[in-house]
């Protein structure tokens, strides 16, 4: 068993480093990919991610801690003094409802997509105009009300071919003619390898993910690289709680589940005694990996512990550690029960 596991890991690492090397050749010189990161390449995650069941599970495990969702924002906006009000119960309920609606907007998850295909759409060739100019002509359609991705950008090359602009060119044009707040014409130096590691060491995961969202499209290979590096680093340091109740928690869980790395996440959740979240993640696992063994066994989906145990027995890669964590959890629960009973008997109830 252990041998097969190591073999699997070995193969996986070879596969992904190869990909990384290829990609680094394609990209510019500073976009090197030294850490082996898993990116959605072999299978398209979009249909799974956008399916209703997965979305509900991801939203549920994200959690809505209002203190974290509506935290103080360092966005240079002018502050207004807080208001204190007396409210009836109905008004309070209404306010809470509004807050929930707003929080669901703030917690909207960035879409998880496959790496986009390069555009090579040649519209026409006209070799008779070679020599007219030595530079490219870039034409952007600025028709009102078009979304960025549907905007037509065409390039006339010096050799007379008229083609659709590549993603990079089109994004640059979009930022020039239709600037989006937070996006810069040149990507910030923060995304370069050496600076990124520095920021991640300080644990500013949300900042990096937020700025990656603002700068890149969600199917940009650079975005996928950065997010996976951040997720790997979170997984390594096991500080999942930092991203809890943010819009990135869902994609983080999705990434870990997709790459079958949920053991550490499950253990840390068990240590915080969040059994329901564990069960949700196992359910997510079963939805993503439809051919997993634990799905074949019929377990009552309301029995969280049974679900978790079935997963540990059949699909887990680190059975022993997980089992230990489950035992510890059960012991804590049992002790607490015992303690409560003792208190009750002492009170003579």
């Amino acid at each position: 068993m252990a041998a097969t596991v190591t073999l699997q890991v070995y193969f996986r690492s070879i596969f992904f480093t190869n990909n990384a090397v290829l990609r680094s050749f394609q990209r510019k010189s500073w976009r090197h990919c030294s850490t082996s990161v898993n990116i959605y390449n072999d299978r398209d995650p979009a249909p799974v991610f956008f399916s209703e069941n997965v979305q509900t599970i991801l939203k549920k495990i994200t959690g809505t801690d209002f203190n974290k969702v509506f935290r103080q924002r360092f966005d240079e906006k002018k502050l207004s003094p807080p208001e204190y009000k007396f409210m009836t119960d109905e008004e309070l309920k209404q306010k809470m409802k509004n807050a929930e609606r707003l929080s669901s907007k703030i917690l909207q998850m960035p879409p998880v997509l496959k790496e986009r295909q390069a555009i090579s759409n040649i519209l026409s060739r006209d070799p008779a105009i070679t020599g007219f100019e030595n530079c490219k002509f870039v034409f952007t359609d600025i028709t009102y009300g078009l979304p960025d991705r549907k905007r037509l950008v065409v390039v006339r090359d010096p050799d007379g071919t008229l083609r659709q602009a590549s993603w990079e060119e089109a994004e640059r044009m979009n930022q020039i003619y239709n600037p989006r707040p937070g996006r810069k014409l040149k990507p910030p130096k923060l995304f370069q390898e050496e600076h990124l590691t520095n920021v991640l060491e300080r644990g500013e995961y949300e900042f990096v993910l937020d700025s990656a969202c603002a700068q890149f499209e969600p199917d940009d290979p650079e975005y996928l690289r950065i997010t996976s590096v951040v997720y790997e680093s979170v997984d390594k340091k096991r500080c999942y709680q930092l991203l809890h109740s943010t819009r990135h928690y869902g994609p983080l869980c999705f990434y870990l589940t997709w790459n079958k790395k949920i053991e550490n996440l499950l253990i840390s959740l068990l240590q915080q005694e969040k059994l329901e979240a564990c069960a949700d993640i196992v359910r997510l696992y079963q939805l993503i990996h439809t051919d997993c063994k634990s799905k074949m066994i019929n377990v009552d989906p309301n029995q969280h512990l049974e679900l978790l145990k079935a997963y540990v027995e059949h699909d887990s890669l680190q059975q022993q550690q997980l089992q230990l964590a489950i035992q510890a959890y059960q012991e804590i629960v049992r002790e607490r029960q015992q303690y409560n009973e003792n208190v009750k008997t002492a009170h003579g109830l």
Partner: protein, 130 residues
Amino acid sequence: MPFPAAGGARVPLRTAKCIRFARHGCANRPFYHIVVMDKKSPRQGHVIEQLGTWDPLVNAHGEKLCSINLERTTYWISKGALISEGCSMLLGLAGLLPIHPRVYLLAWRNRRAAAAQKVQEKEDAAQVEN
């Protein structure tokens, strides 16, 4: 008081309208708006509508940038607006119109000049050797 760059001029009936450039930018840094104007109005006159921009200087990526509002341009062309030579060259390169004959002519001249220069250089090199 200059006219607003974005347009707003009265649309006179039965006069020729023209799609052409209006120069913005400053000394030694040309920048043009592609605009619809009355044919007889001056270059910096009151614009009926702005259709796009044209930056004739090459940027750091080796590109010349042009933006066109395709929806409004096709509308004005369908209304029978005239198109100035520079604009129709540009729209031809963009693939909206057939390529302007002057583009072919200029390209041919440039190629001829380049070939002539090459021959000249060869001759010079031969002379230096002798």
